[in-house]
């Protein structure tokens, strides 16, 4: 895992939480956010959210009375539910980083029918559309007010 300045327990908690936010799905053929490659991307991408993520994980540890990852599954679900309600802006930042990295993973993008590439240089095709739709508007009289 990349060096994110988080300690081992925080990393384990974070990874467990990421997998609970977005678990792997056989139905859609996608990994979870706790997938090794995706989670490594998450840890590499904290940058401006680093402090907020640390605060969120500290809050999670408090709610857990220690390690979130080591809780019994049922208790972990309870704590996660409380955390989702009480996490505030730090949790919002943490979830944002998870989503930013999850939805740029090649496997996830392909499962959504998206090409795993940047927009430039190939761009996209947008249909021109039927401009006769404007005909009723063309028939309208002047709408703007004149000023003498």
């Amino acid at each position: 895992m990349p060096n994110s300045d988080l300690d081992d327990r925080q990393i384990r908690d974070f990874r467990m939480l990421a997998g609970m936010i977005i678990p792997a799905s056989e139905a859609y053929g996608v990994p979870g956010a706790d997938d090794e490659k995706i989670f490594a991307d998450i840890l590499r991408s904290l940058e401006r959210d680093h402090d907020a993520v640390r605060r969120a994980l500290a809050h999670l540890a408090t709610l857990s009375g220690g390690s979130f990852a080591e809780l019994e599954p049922a208790r972990r679900m309870e704590v996660a539910a409380v955390f989702r309600e009480a996490g505030g802006p730090p949790l919002t930042a943490l979830v944002r980083v998870v989503l930013l990295c999850y939805y740029r993973d090649d496997r996830v993008m392909r499962s959504l029918g998206q090409e795993p590439r940047p927009p430039f240089p190939r761009g996209h095709v947008v249909e021109q559309g039927d401009w006769s739709l404007l005909d009723p508007v063309r028939k309208r009289s002047r709408m703007y007010r004149t000023v003498d």
Binding site: G123, H124, G129, L134
Partner: protein, 532 residues
């Protein structure tokens, strides 16, 4: 001390570029100081796989989040709308959606027509030739014949409707309401060396294709070729005055952080509606203890943003998402005052094509629509690329308590006091926003959307920074005269959105630039007696 220049322009964005280019044909020595740097097209987010992520880092719209070394912090805690901007060559034209409506004729006469605020000392007809010139310089795509405007002829055809636009157009036709392809500064044909739009879709944080007009690729190459000097990474601290109270130049910090004094015969401020009052309030002297050219006390006051009421919903088929310029249509159905409504003035609807897949996930997660756990995947697939939306861009009336001042504590990296924003949304604007929300719901329902959501005001929606050094003929009620010259300092001009008297209900860049060209022409016509 550096060599004296004839004209010192501070700020290289929409208005600074236009005024510098226009004045270049005088053959005066013109220098522009820009606190940011050039942005290379290869640096734009759409070049990389992290293109959406960079909206939250080095291309965040909010300067407090972006926090590049070239940015300055803004204390916006006392405002429900946060200032967004970009600092670099091209200014906020680097970071805009390229939606390019003009003000309407009625916008210049709101006191006469509607009994509110003040009339402008100029009118639409005065600006019309400058609108046209600016359309040509920036390269505007659009469609002639819009009944909501006096005749105009965009030089390029409009952006494509796409699936989203067709659905919204049909909805507007069902309701019998006006809609029209937007004027946009996104090139739909190859234009003056710019490649045509290839639908990168990620237009706001810079266009890697160069199809979107930003002044670093429109005005500046021509201005530089004509002899204008553009000096980057130069952050101006204050405008100085001489013993007669005339502007004598500016003190700035250069790229190495070294303090410099740049003398000038004429100073032109083009730092936007927050940056300009900040600079003026920081320019304190014995002659101007409350900030330069501030005998009226109005510098920084009457800040107008345009509160945005965003409405969106989801349809049952994939649309365009963000595979194309995000804004391609507008409606002026509710733009002009209607006495039957409970507010005066009005708003533009701008229609949104869709958003990127990551933005959809983030916004939906924050709004509680996107669950954690197994259901995350199925829910997300009902949202992604199925969003359509529209925003009411509401006219903000000038109110003196909405203002830019200097923060007593916060400073930028050069130690210059930062701006502080105090702003509340007025009652008239609130009623207008509610009207827009209700009408937008009708549009979305007619378009077959459900799960309709509202964000009003858009938090990071302070794109349009207007009114903080207003134009007028009365020196006690305005900061600059009818051609942009400061009443108090006859060799200092302001050309950015600060000088707006009222805000209209449109994206302002087109009118800001037309005003800058008009002021440049006014200067050129008066060169022999400019300071009388």
């Amino acid at each position: 001390m550096l060599d004296k220049v004839d004209v010192l322009v501070i700020g290289s964005g929409a208005s600074g570029a236009a005024v510098a280019w226009s004045l270049a044909d005088t053959r005066m020595r013109i220098l522009c100081l820009e606190q940011g740097d050039w942005v290379k097209p290869t640096d734009y987010p759409s070049n990389g796989r992290d293109w959406e992520a960079r909206l939250f880092s080095d291309f965040a719209v909010n300067p407090n989040r972006r926090a590049r070394p070239t940015d300055y912090p803004i204390n916006d805690a006392n405002s429900p709308i946060k200032v967004v901007n970009f600092n670099g060559v091209g200014g906020s034209t680097i970071m805009y959606t390229a939606h390019f409506p003009r003000l309407h004729p009625s916008d210049f006469k709101v006191r006469t027509l509607d009994g509110v605020a003040d009339d402008w000392p100029i009118d639409y007809a005065t600006l019309e030739p400058y609108f046209a010139e600016n359309d040509r310089m920036m390269g505007v795509s659009g469609l002639a014949g819009d009944p909501s405007y006096p005749p105009k002829q965009p030089p390029m055809p409009p952006l494509p409707l796409g699936k989203s636009g067709a659905r919204l157009g049909n909805a507007m036709n069902q309701l019998g309401w006006h809609w029209w392809p937007s004027d946009s500064t996104i090139a739909t044909t190859d234009y003056e060396g710019r490649g045509r739009c290839i639908n990168l879709g990620h237009c706001t944080p810079g266009c890697a294709q160069g199809a979107k007009a930003s002044t670093d690729i429109t005005y500046w190459p021509l201005a530089i070729r004509a002899g204008v000097e553009l000096r980057t990474m130069c952050r101006v601290r204050e405008v100085t005055v001489d013993e007669q109270g005339m502007a004598s130049g500016a003190i700035y910090y250069d790229a190495e952080g070294k303090e410099q004094f740049q003398p000038a015969e004429v100073v032109i401020l083009a730092c936007n509606g927050v940056g300009t009052p900040r600079l003026m309030l920081n320019s304190v002297s014995g002659k101007f203890p409350n900030g330069i050219a501030n005998s009226s006390g109005l510098v920084g006051k009457n800040l107008m943003f345009h509160p945005y009421a965003l409405n969106y919903g989801y349809v049952d088929e994939p649309l365009d998402g963000n595979h194309g310029p995000p804004l391609c249509l507008w409606s002026k159905e509710f733009y002009e005052t209607d006495p039957s409504r409970d507010f005066v003035r009005g708003y533009t609807f701008q229609f949104g094509r869709g958003v990127g897949s990551i933005i959809e996930a983030i916004v939906s997660s924050a709004a509680g629509r996107l669950p954690w756990g197994e259901e995350h995947h199925s829910t997300y697939r009902k949202l992604v690329n199925r969003r359509i939306g529209l925003s009411a861009i509401c006219e903000d009336l000038p109110e003196e308590h909405n203002r830019v001042t200097l923060d007593p504590v916060l400073k930028d990296s050069s130690g210059i006091p930062a701006p502080k924003i105090d702003y509340t949304i007025g009652d008239n604007s609130h009623r207008m926003m509610q009207h827009g929300i209700a009408r937008a719901r009708q549009v979305l329902e007619a378009a077959g959307a459900s799960n309709i959501c509202v964000e009003s005001p858009i938090l990071n929606g302070g794109w349009h920074l207007l009114g903080t050094a207003r134009m007028g003929t009365d020196p006690e009620r305005s900061v600059v005269n009818e051609w942009g010259r400061c009443h108090d300092v006859k060799n200092m001009f302001i050309v950015d959105g600060s000088i707006w008297v009222t805000s209209g209900g449109v994206n302002p860049t087109s009118t800001i630039q037309a005003l800058a060209l008009y002021i440049a022409d006014s200067i050129k016509q008066r060169l022999a007696n400019l300071f009388d």
